[in-house]
């Protein structure tokens, strides 16, 4: 670079070339041409393996020699639980080749070409950031109806059907329109208000069962320099984890159903207004940790485990996710939304719990019976216990915690479910209308309100407009609660 000799004219010509090719490249780069890689493959061949003979040990009629291919989302739960269950499959069918197992974080990039080409694997854990849109998969008839699995006898008790061994709401979540069950959610998530028992004890408090107590506790915490609440401001769609069951508790299940059904004026229900105003009060009184609107989920959870804030709306995965920063004496617990007042339609304890880790069997799977049998094995008590123990999450199998030593967080999850009984709500917005839920209601609506940039009234109006637009939009598939 220190040279003083001029390069004369040759350099100009070369620069010219670079400039022009750069301009050409400029046109080429951002146009996302990769989108078009392989849309129009043929529909694939329909060569399924022959069905095996049904028997008591093999109620689904699995072909005992056919290969099985499983693709697992390698996220918070890892892949070991699936590998363990696949071993069980091979034990049950010793003549079948070893189950072909793959695990990836990039479900969509890996599997989209195979769906388009008509050669998908047999069983998929369609989860994570690259989850394939279920509504589209169902709408385009890419999935297999899992009803035979649901009606098959369960592994542990042949007198009981698989469908009767599941936790509340799991089966319904797999239905989209009518009876067919398209998705088997394997994990079971409890949503709510998460807190540290130790932090509350330090303030001589117990979990506030009414909103007045909540405000009083936040006030007390504030005087000690602790914020009442924090939330992932960068992903404000965490707020509904405690806000939706709060709305459901105030106004009853119908309010949430109307919201999910995108009915006109669903958001103008007084229950929504009451819940929004209650949360907005947290902001107005300065009970929200300063800077929260700029925090990611990890950052806000870290502030929370450091004791800078008492409460955080979250799901039961937070135990695993926040483990690196959680002090040993933290005593993580989950609480159901506090009661707003005595006119609430549902009692204290009403909670949101629903399935996670959606497993699907593609319609063009070569060995669909094998895939369903694999799911049946996973839904046995033994596999479920193994899952709960290794990944610290409940499974869709109702039970399977007896004799296990549970952490405080998991134990409190089991306890709130017991307390809730039938009062488990299950808003479907986040799996039916992802964009509406996350980007529009979550970020542009509730997020702006909790950051103090919009009032509850403005937010409700804005969200209602988004919901109305989604209801009118013909390019998205619409669903209704049955």
């Amino acid at each position: 670079m220190g040279s003083t000799s001029a390069h004369k004219n040759e350099g100009l010509g070369r620069r010219d070339v670079i400039k022009r090719s750069a301009a050409l490249g400029l046109i080429a780069v951002p146009t996302m041409s990769f989108l078009t890689s392989c849309a129009s493959g043929d529909s694939g061949s329909d060569d399924k393996v022959e069905k095996g003979t049904k028997s008591a040990k093999n109620p689904l009629g699995v072909n005992e020699t056919a290969p099985l291919e499983v693709v697992i989302f390698n996220g918070g739960f890892g892949e070991q639980y699936a590998i363990d269950a696949e071993k069980k499959y091979n034990e049950a069918f010793p003549k079948a080749p070893k189950v072909k197992h793959a695990a990836t974080e990039k479900i969509q990039s890996t599997l989209q070409p195979r769906f388009n080409g008509g050669t998908p694997p047999d069983l998929i854990d369609n989860s994570g950031a690259e989850q394939m849109d279920m509504g589209v998969l169902v709408g385009k008839k890419q999935l297999l109806d899992l009803t035979p699995l649901m009606d098959a006898p369960s592994v542990d008790d042949p007198a009981k059907k698989v469908r009767d061994t599941l936790r509340p709401g799991v089966l319904e979540m797999g239905q989209f329109d009518g009876d067919p069950v398209w998705i088997m959610y394997y994990a079971y998530t409890v949503y709510g208000v998460w807190y540290s028992q130790t932090a509350l004890e330090k303030l001589d408090a117990t979990y506030p069962e009414t909103w007045d107590d909540m405000l009083a506790l936040c006030k007390k915490a504030k005087s000690k320099g602790i914020a009442g609440w924090t939330y992932p401001g960068k992903y404000p769609y965490y707020l509904p984890f405690s806000l939706y069951p709060f709305i459901g508790k105030i106004g009853g299940r119908e309010v949430l159903d109307k919201i999910d059904n995108l009915e006109p004026n669903a958001w103008k229900d007084p229950a929504v207004k009451a819940a929004f105003e209650a949360y907005y009060e947290l902001f107005q009184k300065g009970y929200i940790l300063k800077g929260t609107p700029g925090l990611t989920h990890i950052q806000s959870q870290t502030e929370w485990t450091k004791g800078k804030a008492l409460f955080i709306p979250n799901g039961s995965w937070v135990e695993n996710e926040a483990a690196p920063t959680t002090p040993d004496d933290f005593k993580m617990m989950v609480g159901a939304p506090s009661s707003l007042d005595s006119s609430d339609k549902l009692p204290f304890g009403t909670i949101w719990a629903s399935g996670g880790e959606p497993f699907i069997v593609p319609a063009k799977s070569k060995n669909p019976e094998g895939a369903m049998e694999q799911l049946r094995i996973m839904l046995s008590e033994e596999s479920s216990k193994n899952f709960t123990q290794s990944v610290k999450s409940l499974s869709a199998f109702n039970g399977g915690t007896d004799g296990l030593e549970l952490s405080t967080a998991m134990q409190s999850g089991v306890d709130v479910l017991k307390k809730a009984g039938d009062n488990v709500v299950n808003p479907r917005m986040q799996d039916w209308y992802v964009k509406l839920q996350k980007e529009q209601i979550g970020i542009a609506g509730i997020g702006e309100m909790m950051a103090g940039r919009a009032t509850p009234a403005e937010t409700i109006k804005k969200i209602q407009a988004f919901a109305d637009a989604a209801a009118k939009d013909q390019s998205i598939k619409h669903y209704k609660h049955q």
């Binding site: 400029l26 969509q108 589209v136």
Partner: protein, 307 residues
């Protein structure tokens, strides 16, 4: 043998041209075709829908917001980055105090600065964006901690959580990560300007500012123009997308304040499973890019100095 000559040239060009046609031109044609369909991206069956996607795009507020932000990036980023890079490069090469036996020299320690400036270039944009995400953390990030330390406790913005600041935060990151490359590029260009020109200018009594505008900039014009094109690619393409995707609320927020065209294409295609509509937005992006390229090429037409 005129015929032979062309056959000779074509013979050499056929392979690269075929590759270009298959991997660049053909995807374009396909994109435009898919933009007229309702393809979901998840199944091989779809049908033609005519101009539906296009009329939808023109009515789509988020498209216009994304377009606005992308245009802002394409205007501001090159201007600020290249301006800063020119200033730094000038200081490193010509801007120093006059020393004995040397007509022009850089500021003291210029070789160290050159390396320091170039350093961000070796980091991938994803890492840079992640690092800045920590710096922008409103509760314990570097920026707000510094503000607190100097007694500005009341002035602690939410940075990426503030719709008025978020897009500028993204721009700062992109500028930080690219300015070094252009410092080095312009330094190389400046080093090739003969020192006699500077000597002559100094003899005539020109100061540093005059030398910069009358000698350095005109002789560097071609390099600056290439830089402009590169920055355009960056602002419309993958770097801007990555920074927004990694850093911002949502991403694209808060309240759509940082959404840009490539992000909107990505979200529409892969989150909403509307690949047909996404390619339509992609075609919109193509038009913006071609306009930008056209403007740059036209503005760049200047008399060339021979030296």
């Amino acid at each position: 043998m005129q015929h032979g000559k062309y056959r000779f040239i074509v013979g050499f060009l056929v392979v690269p041209l075929a590759l270009y046609a298959i991997f660049v031109i053909w995807p374009f044609v396909q994109s435009i075709y898919y933009s007229f369909t309702d393809w979901t991206g998840l199944s091989p069956d779809f049908k033609m829908v005519g101009f539906d996607n296009y009329s939808r795009m023109l009515d789509d507020d988020i498209f216009w917001k994304s377009l606005q932000h992308s245009v802002l990036l394409v205007l501001l980023l090159p201007l600020v980055t290249l301006g800063l890079a020119l200033f730094f490069a000038f200081m490193l090469n010509v801007g120093g105090r006059r020393r004995k036996n040397a007509t022009v020299a850089g500021v003291r320690g210029s070789s160290f600065y050159k390396i320091a400036y170039f350093f961000p270039q070796v980091l991938s944009i994803v890492i840079v964006a992640l690092l800045f995400q920590f710096a922008f953390n409103p509760t314990s990030g570097m920026l707000n901690s510094t503000l607190k330390a100097v007694g500005l406790k009341s002035l602690q913005p939410d940075w990426l959580g503030d719709p008025n600041l978020a897009l500028y935060c993204v721009m700062v990151v992109l500028i930080w990560s690219t300015v070094g490359f252009f410092v080095v590029l312009f330094s190389a260009g400046m080093a090739s300007i003969p020192k006699d020109f500077y000597e002559a200018a100094l003899l005539d009594g020109a100061d540093r500012i005059t030398t910069f505008f009358r000698i350095t900039l005109p002789l560097l014009w071609d390099t600056v123009q290439s830089g402009w094109v590169y920055m355009g690619i960056l602002a419309l393409g993958v770097e801007a997308f990555t920074a927004v995707q990694v850093m911002t609320v949502g991403p694209g927020g808060p309240d759509y304040s940082t959404t840009i065209l490539p992000l909107y294409v990505y979200q529409t295609a892969f989150r909403d499973a509307q690949a047909g509509y996404a390619t339509t937005i992609g075609v919109g992006l193509l038009i913006v890019t071609m306009l930008f390229a056209g403007i740059v090429m036209r503005l760049g037409r200047r008399e060339r100095l021979e030296f």
